[in-house]
C-alpha cells in the first residue's frame, strides 16, 4: 500500500501532518518514521515516556524512555525528517505507531515464509526492518535508506 512519493508530495504530506498535529490532540494516527519532528513528541505522549535529544554528527537522536522499561530512539535529519527508529528493552514498542507510513510494507514482508527462527530481517528497497533478541530482551530498528542524511551510515540507527 505504500507508494514511492515524489519529493514535492512528501513536503506537502509533512506540512499537512504538522498542521494536523498543531490543530488537534497531539496524537497523529501514524507517526515517526518518514515524518517530521512533531511526530516524535506525539510518540512521546502516546508512549507516556520521557524525551531527551542529543546532537550527533549530521543528525539528531531523540531518546524516549518508556515506563515499561523499553527505550525507543528516533533519528532525524538536519531537514527535520525522521529517517530511522530503534528500540531496546524487555517489550516491543508500538511498531504500528513508530513505523508510520512504512507499517504496511513491513506487515506484508513479515509474512513471507522463512526458514530461520531468530531475528526477523526485512530488506526492502524503501525500508530496512530488523527485530531481534528474545522475550524480555528485544532490540531492533527500522530505517529508510533513501532518507539517510549525507555522511550518516546506517549503523548510526541503533
Amino acid at each position: 500500500m505504500t507508494t514511492n512519493r515524489q519529493a514535492g508530495g512528501r513536503t506537502a504530506l509533512v506540512l499537512a501532518l504538522w498542521t494536523v498535529a498543531l490543530l488537534s490532540a497531539p496524537r497523529p494516527a501514524r507517526a515517526a518514521l518518514g515524518d517530521g519532528l512533531p511526530s516524535i513528541q506525539g510518540d512521546q505522549v502516546h508512549m507516556q515516556g520521557s524525551l531527551r535529544t542529543a546532537a550527533m554528527p549530521g543528525y539528531l537522536r531523540h531518546e524516549i524512555q518508556i515506563p515499561t522499561g523499553t527505550v525507543v530512539r528516533e533519528f532525524s535529519s538536519p531537514a527535520g525528517s525522521v529517517f530511522g527508529v530503534s528500540w531496546e528493552g524487555p517489550f516491543l514498542p508500538d511498531l504500528h505507531r513508530i513505523l508510520g507510513a512504512s507499517y504496511d510494507s513491513y506487515v506484508l514482508a513479515a509474512r513471507t515464509k522463512r526458514r530461520g527462527r531468530g531475528p526477523l530481517l526485512l530488506h526492502l528497497p524503501d525500508l530496512v526492518f530488523e527485530s531481534a533478541g528474545h522475550p524480555r530482551g528485544f532490540h531492533g530498528r527500522a530505517y529508510l535508506p533513501k532518507l539517510l542524511p549525507e555522511g550518516v551510515p546506517a549503523e548510526a540507527v541503533r
Partner: protein, 402 residues
C-alpha cells in the same frame, strides 16, 4: 573440510546419535571430574529432528505431560520446542484433548495473552495444568493454550504487525517450552497498571477483551521454577555433530544446577547477564553488547555480511552461504570480566539444506549488531541457564554457563 553430502557419514551418525540416551560421555563439554546427565528423575530426553512439521532445522524438541489439575486426566504432547530464550509453556490448543481450566481474574473473567517473540505473536488463553517431565512435576502451572476461537486477537495484539504463529505449520512445533532466565514470561511490568504495563495480558469478560494487570503468580510461569527441587535452572546437553550435519541427534535436558550429583557446573564458566539477558561478544575487536545464548534460535545469527565477511545466501537472506566453510573466533565476556574465546564454523546453508540432515553445528545467518548463539552453539557442550534470583553453586541467577 568441505560440507559434502556423504551417505557414509550420515549412516555412521545415525548409529552414534541413537546410542544411549544420556550423551553424558560423548558431550565433548568440559565438565571436569563430574558426570553431567546420565539417567535420573531430573533428566529429560530431547531430540533434534525435523519436528512435527517435518521441516525444522536445528529444533530441539521434547515431550511434556499435562494433566487437569489434581486429576489423572493427562495428555503427553511431543514435538515441543525447548527454548532457553523464553519462559513458560505454550501448547497449540488444537492439540489439547484434556480440558485444562482457564485462569480467571478476580471478577471471574478469563485471562488471555498476546505473547510476543521477536518474529511472531501467539494469542491464546492462560490455562492451568499439572505438568510432568521425567520425575519432576509442578501443580497448577499457568500455561498458554495457543490459538483460541472464543475471543479474536484484539487490535492491541495484532497491530504489532508481527505474523501469528499459531499452527503446527507456522510454528514448526506443537508448542514451546520456555526454560529461560526469568520466572514469568512478562514479570512485574504486567502486574502494574498505567504506562508501565506493556499490555500483553487481557481480561476477557463477555463484553470484550481489555488489557489488564495480572499478578506475578497468575502469569505464564517458567515450569522449572515451580518444581519442588531442581528448580534453579536447566542444562542442555547435546553431542557434537560432524560438518555435514546429522538427520537426528539425541540429547538431554537436565533440571537443576548443582542440586544433585549429575548436574554440577564442573569446569563450566559462568557468564552473568544484564536485566534483559544480554552479555557481550567481541568479534574482530568490536564489542557487541546485545548478545545472548538461545536454544530456540536455529542458527548462530550474528552481524552482517560486511562485518562477518560472509555472503548471505541468494535464495534466502536469513542465512549465510560462504563458498567454503569459514572458521571464526569470537570472545564472550560478562560484566564481571569472565571472558573466553569461542571457535565456530559457518558453512554454506544451501549446501547444508541440500543434505538429508536437520541438525547442523555450522548453520549461521545475519543478525546486525549482535550475536544470537543459537542451537549450533549447544552441540558438543553442556550449556547452563540459571534462573533469576535462584541460588546455584555458581552464584545467583540469571546467568549462562558453559
Amino acid at each position: 573440510m568441505r560440507a559434502l553430502v556423504s551417505t557414509v557419514l550420515v549412516l555412521g551418525l545415525a548409529a552414534c546419535g541413537g546410542g544411549g540416551g544420556s550423551g553424558s560421555s560423548d558431550s565433548g563439554g568440559s565438565s571436569g571430574g563430574s558426570v553431567v546427565g546420565g539417567s535420573g528423575p531430573n533428566v529429560q530426553p530431547i531430540v533434534v529432528n525435523p519436528g512435527p512439521a517435518q521441516n525444522y532445522a536445528n529444533g530441539a524438541f521434547t515431550s511434556v505431560t499435562v494433566c487437569v489439575p489434581g486429576t489423572s486426566e493427562c495428555q503427553t504432547i511431543d514435538g515441543v520446542l525447548v527454548d532457553t530464550g523464553s519462559s513458560g509453556l505454550r501448547l497449540l490448543s488444537s492439540l489439547l484433548t484434556v480440558s485444562l481450566p482457564p485462569q480467571h481474574d478476580a471478577a471471574g473473567a478469563p485471562i488471555l495473552e498476546c505473547n510476543q517473540f521477536q518474529d511472531s505473536y501467539q494469542w491464546g488463553a492462560v490455562v492451568l495444568a499439572d505438568l510432568k517431565m521425567s520425575g519432576e512435576q509442578a501443580s497448577s502451572v499457568p500455561i498458554q493454550a495457543i490459538g483460541t476461537s472464543a475471543f479474536g486477537a484484539p487490535k492491541g495484539c495484532t497491530q504489532s504487525g508481527l505474523p501469528p504463529q499459531e499452527t503446527v505449520d507456522s510454528l514448526g512445533a506443537n508448542g514451546v517450552l520456555g526454560v529461560g532466565l526469568f520466572r514469568q514470561d512478562c514479570g512485574p511490568a504486567c502486574a502494574s497498571s498505567g504506562g508501565q504495563n506493556p499490555g500483553l495480558y487481557y481480561s476477557c469478560p463477555p463484553s470484550g477483551c481489555v488489557a489488564a494487570a495480572v499478578g506475578l503468580n497468575q502469569q505464564v510461569l517458567n515450569p522449572v521454577w515451580l518444581f519442588a527441587a531442581d528448580n534453579n535452572g536447566v542444562i542442555l546437553q547435546l553431542p557434537s555433530v560432524p560438518a555435514a550435519g546429522a538427520p537426528t541427534v539425541n540429547g538431554s535436558m537436565i533440571f537443576g544446577i548443582g542440586t544433585r550429583s549429575n548436574n554440577g557446573l564442573g569446569s563450566a564458566h559462568v557468564y552473568t547477564v544484564d536485566d534483559v539477558g544480554y552479555f557481550t561478544t567481541v568479534f574482530k575487536g568490536q564489542p557487541y553488547s546485545q548478545s545472548f545464548v538461545d536454544s530456540g534460535s536455529n542458527g548462530i545469527f550474528f552481524l552482517d555480511s560486511a562485518t562477518s565477511g560472509l555472503a548471505a545466501c541468494r535464495d534466502t537472506a536469513d542465512f549465510y552461504c560462504p563458498p567454503a566453510p569459514a572458521s571464526l573466533t569470537a570472545t564472550n565476556r560478562d560484566a564481571s570480566g569472565t571472558s573466553a574465546t569461542v571457535d565456530f564454523t559457518i558453512a554454506n546453508a544451501d549446501a547444508l539444506f541440500n543434505t538429508p540432515n536437520f541438525a547442523f553445528s555450522n548453520l549461521g545467518g545475519p543478525n546486525p549488531g549482535s550475536f544470537d548463539w543459537g542451537l549450533p552453539f549447544f552441540f558438543g557442550r553442556n550449556v547452563y541457564t540459571a534462573l533469576e534470583q535462584q541460588s546455584t553453586p555458581g552464584g545467583v541467577g540469571p546467568y549462562f554457563a558453559y
